[in-house]
């Protein structure tokens, strides 16, 4: 088994002809969602499936990773914590503020928080950043994966409040959540326009990339906040 660094603290494991994306397990011996664990030398790696994670798909589709081991991250739409746990692996000396709106979904994530000291759960509405502004510090990265129609506006208001100048926004735009009848390309264009062209947006596009075949009708976007 060969381990290669793919981005800072993100790895690819080569097994025969197969390549797996993986992160180093912050809580060795413990699975979060039934993912495969692989032991290589001293370290344990957790396989990270692009079909189950928008972020993994974005990385495999060659969008850049802004994460370092000490990044402060605001994660919007953490769901049951599948991807959050990998981010927690990557920024193991940093912190992840994980915002999720659904109590049921959040309930399933609590055990993960209890195992990993760098995840701060926030049962809150990502479209109301004021409601967690008394907790979240200025962050290096915002990752967003929410299924709401005003995805770009939500990202923008969080960027404004919490993203450091020079920090990165990574977001996955789900066309059908915005408008279930319009063509995905039309939706993407309109969402990007909202994100980048508003007067006070301060966001510049770094790269965008569709997430097919891992996720159909999803666009991955990386943008940077001007200094």
């Amino acid at each position: 088994m060969k381990v290669k660094t793919f981005h800072e603290n993100i790895f690819t494991l080569q097994q025969g002809k197969k390549n797996f994306l993986a992160t180093r397990n912050l809580s060795p011996g413990s699975r979060v969602y039934g993912e495969r664990l692989m032991q290589v030398d001293e370290a344990e790696y957790r396989i990270w499936e692009p079909k189950r994670s928008k972020l993994a798909a974005m990385l495999l589709k060659k969008l850049p990773s802004p994460f370092t081991t000490t990044s402060k991250v605001l994660y919007l739409g953490s769901a049951t914590g599948t991807t959050v746990s990998h981010v927690s692996d990557i920024v193991h000396q940093g912190v992840v503020y994980a915002v999720e709106f659904s109590p049921r979904t959040m309930r399933d994530m609590l055990p993960i928080c209890e195992e990993r000291p760098n995840i701060i759960p926030l049962l809150a509405d990502a479209s109301k950043p004021q409601s967690y502004a008394n907790v979240v510090e200025p962050v290096d990265v915002i990752f967003q994966d929410v299924a709401q129609p005003d995805q770009a506006s939500i990202a923008l208001s969080n960027v404004q409040h919490f993203l450091k100048p020079g920090g990165y926004l990574l977001m996955s735009i789900k066309a059908r959540s915005v408008d279930s009848t319009a063509k995905p390309d039309t939706v993407f264009k309109q969402q990007l326009k909202t994100l980048l062209e508003q007067d006070n947006s301060r966001m510049e596009l770094v790269k965008k990339q569709k997430l097919a075949p891992f996720h159909i009708d999803h666009l991955g976007v990386v943008a940077r906040k001007t200094e």
Partner: protein, 317 residues
């Protein structure tokens, strides 16, 4: 400028430096409750770029970063638990009730069909179905057990159905009684949905009716989510198969999903159903937004829809 953080109220000077800070005690439960109060009604919000970590250390709440994050995590977990415990909202009540209702319907249909065949073997002339039959059998059992004054007494005497014995009778009677109880449950849950709809979404209830309104909330996963949906999505919600076909370019855009069950559409001439569906979906969208944000009944929403409906009907004459 006075700002609230999760660990303290802080007075900040114009230049950003701290004028005064009175940190809370390190009691996780108290901190969690403080967090929830702020979340529910955010006031004195820290300004953009405000750094709570350094301020917490600066004002002596914690000694360093490690202690800070550990306490923050404990506080947020406790607050989350508290909030989950109290999150059995009218939305969720409605969602579960609607789903239970669907399952009860399916189960009852299945059992009612079986009872019809089974009991029909014995008393094919009874001529009752579903709930009536279930109640009848649960109450009376077999033909031979009907009281003299029953309106079915004579029919039973001349029935061509097969004779069943007491053991068969006991089993089929209990089966009918289970089914009857499921129908009873159905009625109770329906009124529970009505009650919760009146409380949660009076405007949606007025426009959609309690049943359809509850179903929309259930499909959207809550009133908040519904209120955030574009009217075009509400219009076709529940028409998934038709919609996917359309998105693959294999069919024309579906005109209506579950809202087809609204009398405005069902009872309209097919030619104007598309227009009606658009008008209704738009009104439902507005109603759900008002319900989600103010919760006050506003008769203007329904009145506007009524006017629109009238003009569609006029236009079609």
């Amino acid at each position: 400028m006075n700002v609230k953080t999760w660990f303290a109220d802080i007075e900040i000077n114009e230049d950003g430096s701290v004028a005064e800070c009175s940190p809370c005690t390190q009691d996780v439960q108290q901190l969690a409750e403080r967090l929830l109060v702020f979340q529910a009604d955010p006031k004195q919000i820290p300004p953009e770029g405000f750094d709570p970590v350094q301020n917490a250390i600066g004002c002596g709440f914690v000694a360093g970063e490690t202690e800070y994050y550990s306490l923050l995590q404990q506080t947020c977990i406790a607050a989350t638990r508290l909030k989950i415990k109290n999150s059995y909202s009218p939305d969720l009540r409605i969602i579960h009730a609607v789903e239970a209702l669907d399952d009860i319907d399916e189960a009852a249909n299945l059992l009612a069909e079986r009872l019809g065949i089974w009991y029909g073997e014995h008393f094919p002339e009874a001529g009752m179905f579903t709930e009536n039959l279930a109640k009848f059998v649960a109450e009376n059992g077999l033909r031979q057990d009907l009281p003299q004054d029953s309106q079915f007494h004579e029919t039973a005497q001349s029935s061509v159905g097969m004779e069943m014995d007491a053991e068969d009778g006991a089993i089929i009677k209990a089966f009918a009684s289970d089914l009857s109880s499921l129908y009873e449950r159905r009625h109770v849950i329906e009124s529970y949905i009505h009650k919760n709809m009146e409380q949660l979404a009076p405007n949606l209830e007025e426009v959609a009716g309690a049943n359809l309104g509850a179903r929309l909330i259930s499909m959207a996963g809550g009133l908040q989510s519904l209120s955030r949906m574009p009217s075009s999505t509400i219009q076709v919600m529940g028409a998934n198969q038709a919609l996917f076909k359309h998105l693959r370019g294999k069919a024309t855009s579906p005109k209506h999903g579950i809202i087809f069950n609204h009398p405005l559409i069902k009872n309209s001439h097919p030619k104007i159903r598309g227009k009606m569906a658009r008008a209704l979906a738009s009104s439902l969208s507005i109603a759900s937004r008002v319900d989600a944000f103010s919760g006050q009944r506003n008769p203007a929403i329904k009145e506007k829809l009524d006017r629109k409906v009238l003009s569609i009907k006029e236009g079609n004459k």
